[in-house]
């Protein structure tokens, strides 16, 4: 995302990040009504914490959406989350950059990242799911986020 280091109003922040927040919430909960509630709560909670920059707000609100969605996801959402569409979207801008960055990860890194971020699993559960030692899972998560950041930075996407 492009960092705009001046705080905005809630309306401006929603216009910038609301659609993406909803998309994330639906992908995890599998339920549009729950996703709406999660997004609304996340925005008001993050707004209440105070906004120092739009980029900081983006990071905080997405974390709040993900956490709220994880707490409220349905069985459908749980199933769908494991079918997370990492690397399947051919979008533009940030989407394309993220998709490209994810495609550059190794299979082990990508799987661990999907299970952690969209599946909400801990390292032990990921290790069990992927039949890998826990240190390998930690190393893959570490490499995945670092490589993701590196590729996004190279493509001029401010993280």
């Amino acid at each position: 995302m492009n960092a705009v280091e001046s705080p905005s109003s809630v309306g401006e922040l929603y216009d910038r990040f609301g659609a993406l927040a909803y998309r994330l919430a639906v992908s995890i909960t599998g339920n549009p009504a729950i996703a709406e509630r999660v997004v609304s709560e996340a925005f008001s909670a993050t707004w209440r914490k105070g906004v120092t920059s739009n980029s900081r707000f983006f990071s905080s609100v997405m974390r709040a959406v993900r956490a709220g969605a994880m707490q409220n996801r349905t069985a459908y959402g749980r199933r769908k989350s494991f079918e997370a569409t990492l690397g399947t979207e051919d979008g533009r801008g940030h989407e394309a950059a993220v998709t490209s960055a994810l495609a550059a990860l190794s299979e082990g890194e990508r799987s661990a990242l999907a299970l952690a971020y969209f599946g909400g699993l801990g390292v032990e559960a990921i290790a069990s799911e992927l039949r890998q030692p826990i240190p390998n899972v930690k190393a893959n998560l570490q490499a995945a986020l670092h490589n993701l950041r590196s590729v996004l930075t190279e493509r001029g996407v401010a993280v």
Partner: protein, 256 residues
Amino acid sequence: MTHEPWMGSAAAYALGSLEGEDRAAFEKHLAECATCRAEVQELQETAAMLAYAAPPAHAPGALRDRVLRESRDVRPLVRTSRVRLFPTVAWLAAAASLTLAVLTGVELRGERGERAKLALALDSVRAELGARDSTIAAFFGPEVHVVSLSPTGEKPSMRVFWNHTRNIFIVTAFNVPRAPAGKTYQLWAIAKNKAPMSMGTFNTDANGRLTAIIPVGNVINDAGFIDLCGLTMEPEGGSSQPTEQPRLVGSWRHTD
């Protein structure tokens, strides 16, 4: 500070995948390691970008109105730039000035030995000022919020500062009797419709005082905000949930 052995846990922590003792140990390390705090912050920002990998979904138009309506009555928490810590700063500054003044007098008398001793004392005061400056700086900044805790109807005996930039709580206590052997104090974050979340454990000194820095855990960060803080006494090591009613309680201050 050695942080290399911990770096392997930073991503798992940033993704909320570090659990149990691993998580507790890492959070303890975070309290003391600025390098790892910065690493976690960066990784959390990177992880937020993964939202772009979620499947497409069209947000209903009514959601914007709902967000605006529910945020309308929410005011960002007050900045703590108004908190007055000048007495501490003034005392330290006065101590330094006094030492300088004494040092000048000694120089005039040509007592080199005494001058050297006082120079050392001055260095010590400067070092203490530097350390205090670092702590004091954590109380300020654009993303610091504060809560005062007190027994019902009495004056506050604790304050907790939440520095969002450094992702830490700074806990200050005064007149809080030291917890007996086998017991510890535990601070709880209480948010609407959520179970109390542990903010950390600590004990006060023999004078009932404490200044401590506690890293903010992912559970609390993910909760978005907390309405109240409560203090209980728990068995050594802390509890997963409070075992008694809060001895001290307070809500985040809302003043303009």
